[in-house]
Subunit: 360 residues, 3 copies
């Protein structure tokens, strides 16, 4: 990993932000949060492919092309049965492999009666899909684990947001938490200068970027004080870990001078965010998020508060990012001026650029 | 007429469903239901032509190009007077032939001050329009009669629906009532296997298709039992008659073994549907329908119930067909797999294909 | 100035109404009404340029390109401070000249960190902007004065409407008040034949058109009688003055035979309209209007009534003009038939045509 501090990179040239980016294909992308797949099939376009997601009787998740091979109705308009999904028009029944297993009123099932099935895997309550490039139609690795959901140490909740903006603008936003001071004044932000002047360290390799920001002896923001009984000022950290299809952000604080900020076993108040960013199309995205927290007293109420604050915060981000993208479309390709906070985001863009070209 | 039963045609090749079909021109198409034309002009695009429809003082219907020749305001934004329709901008008045008969404040009316008029005819409370091809600008026949509306034997009601889908998808839907089991579970459908296993007979010639389905000794669906005092199981029939611009569907049932199902004078409960399917554009349609019924007791209340159920049913169809069309657009041209229920619809598509090419 | 009366021009050829007109560039256009620029920046597209408008601490108005040079967020999503507008994403601060004067957390401001600024001037509570052609990037004249707003003789109010229609259709509407009889029956219109048969005089030169209409001894319309104690019939006038980027319309009435209608010092009831018509794009416009009146008794209540009536009237115009434009798009380029009322509008179109070609 190469390590550098932000100052030396302030004037690093901005990577061009293409208005119609395509995406790395040989990746596991988030297709759904596990609890979305219950009694109804879910229709969702992922990487330009319309997909129907559902859970079969044995609890396995399945992902098929969202088009009945008979008359093209979306299978997500149908209903779930023990053997699979039944089309809501003429009742053809498809199993999790995409094979038609029943045509009502007809004995023989033509061999052509099937729909494409995609590689899909559920892990720690996250449902991942692999579409793959022509070179790698089969997954080359296991989907990522995320034990925050399964360790039992945290309470969490989450949701999926639809963005009218390309996925990389969401990466940019998450990799640069300095925007907290301006976008999120009312919630997790607090004092702007704290964020802009945070101590920042950035590391990266071929597929990840890690941005660590420390804000020692700072005033805790509204969300923190609402959720945890801090005595006064806090030592606050933000650890952002970028992977090609998702980010993990571990933020939190301890009372001033009580624990080392870079100790993974540190105490205090923690918010651990999972952020799955999956392109819907070149110009729109799905943003799957969960927020986990470690309450000390009144845990359920605290969790609800944290989730409420998180929703407010992510609503603010969505508003800014969609306004940004609309304006980029309005103005077309135009150079951008980089500032010190862009280093992490620019590295992530380079990683994606390289992966995209290496799979072409 | 060639007659065949469905089984031998199960694997008949599907006619390709073009995403942007055009339409047979030398036909009478439904432009309005008679009672729509009252105190206000009606603007409607029919076969890509924006038309204003209205009734003149003598009760005759008129159809003009929906554009004032002065400054292009739709005439449907204007008001009706004894002599015709008056533009809502500067008050030019046009009669039913499209001639300007008054320019307020100006004595001389330029010879160019007129708008195109179309052939329009009202028959049995249905308003028909003929646009014609270049070869046949004048109608080559009379508009269809529909004495169900005028015989006095039935009570009826109806409405017009706008579809974001091409007209032929509505034909497909109406010609294959096997979808009742999956789309209309709550209303006229009832048990799915009854529909899929119905006895079916199909006849066709150069301009019509007739699909007859018999469901002897079957459980009557909710709409039927709500409207008629059946004693138990029924002998149920569906007779679908396709014409190029409209369909007639005569469905009903008698108590088991009380009347021949193919006797036009049979008793029992009847629902007689008129279905005018008029292209608005290549990708959208107007669907004019009426539903007539023959109540034995409490006739007005029964009719209201039948119309309510029909509305629920047609709302369900619209939802499915528009979802189907959206998905066809999403996926582009792709082969479809035919099943046994498609025979009638496929013949109708062939008829339209032949007529379209013979008028080209 | 050439003077002619309408009759001789009735059959003057209509100037073609292009579906995608462009605009004269070397003009002052209205960008805002003065009172719009208060505590928040205003984002608005003017002549295809997205602009952020705001007032600086010293009360001066400023107009910048509405795009932060860092990551393209509209500056109108930001907040106003004493020194200028601060971006709502990462907090860059821009002054009224478009220079970045602060990058939070960064000492050095790159020389490229600036956004284009436009010539903007406030005069009589109207904010004007000059974009200019390549030949005239600097204003070649002062913005128009409008002392109706500052003389103290009138009470007034106003607003800005967004139109989904090209600017010249609004000119047409304002230059031909004969439409009052058909579009505005409920408000300022009154009897249609009065308007169509008004005495009309038209004068024009290279950049202006003046249409004067007199309706002696006529019934005052509802708005007038609601606002002024007329004794009975009135001598009523309409004076329309077209300039390339705006119109002034002075209408009013005196009791019959009490004052000369063409005397600027005439008494009676007056409504003085300012109408700034600024293209947003080729197919959409901003319509800035104020309405000033000279109440004799209960002035504030009278003004409120007049403004209410004006809003009703302008809502009616907007509905008609947008319907007209939609229909023009539907039908594409098609000849129009001129009538006697079109003379003023046609001259205005010729003026704009000539100016557009002279600056090309």
């Amino acid at each position: 990993m190469s390590t550098s501090n932000a100052e030396s990179l302030v004037y690093e040239a901005a990577s061009p932000i293409a208005s119609a980016p395509s995406f790395p294909l040989d990746q596991w992308y988030v297709a759904a949060l596990g609890w979305e797949l219950k009694e109804k099939p879910v229709g969702r376009t992922l990487l330009n492919k319309p997909v129907v997601l559902f859970r079969t009787a044995d609890g396995q998740v399945a992902a098929l092309e969202n088009r009945c091979c008979h008359r093209a109705l979306p299978l997500s308009n149908g209903t779930l049965e023990e053997r699979g999904v039944r089309c809501g028009y003429h009742g053809l029944l498809f199993n999790g492999d995409g094979n038609c297993v029943e045509i009502p009123g007809q004995d023989k099932i033509p061999s052509k009666a099937k729909v494409p099935a995609y590689h899909v895997r559920e892990q720690d309550q996250i449902v991942w899909v692999w579409f793959g490039s022509e070179a790698h139609p089969e997954p080359t690795c296991e989907p990522p684990a995320y034990d925050v959901h399964s360790s039992g140490k945290y309470l969490f909740g989450g949701d999926v947001y639809h963005y009218d903006a390309p996925y990389q603008l969401i990466h940019d936003n998450l990799l640069d938490l300095s925007h907290l001071g301006y976008v999120h004044l009312r919630t997790i932000g607090g004092n702007a200068s704290i964020h802009m002047n945070a101590q920042m360290k950035i590391e990266s390799d071929d597929t990840t970027v890690r941005v660590v920001r420390h804000m020692p002896n700072s005033v805790p923001p509204p969300t923190y004080t609402a959720a945890y009984p801090f005595k006064g000022n806090v030592d606050r950290w933000q650890e952002i870990e970028f992977h090609v299809s998702h980010l993990q952000i571990w933020t939190g604080a301890v009372d001033v001078n009580t624990d080392a900020m870079d100790d993974p076993e540190r105490g205090g108040f923690h918010m651990r965010g999972f952020h799955g960013v999956t392109p819907e199309t070149e110009s729109s995205s799905h943003y799957f998020w969960t927020m986990a927290t470690n309450p000390v007293s009144d845990p359920e109420a605290t969790k609800i508060k944290v989730i409420e604050q998180t929703i407010l915060t992510f609503d603010e981000d969505k508003e800014v990012i969609e306004a940004q993208y609309q304006n980029m479309c309005r103005f077309g390709t135009r150079p951008m001026v980089d500032i010190h906070v862009d280093v992490g985001a620019n590295r992530a863009r380079k990683i994606i650029e390289q992966i995209r070209h290496s799979t072409c």
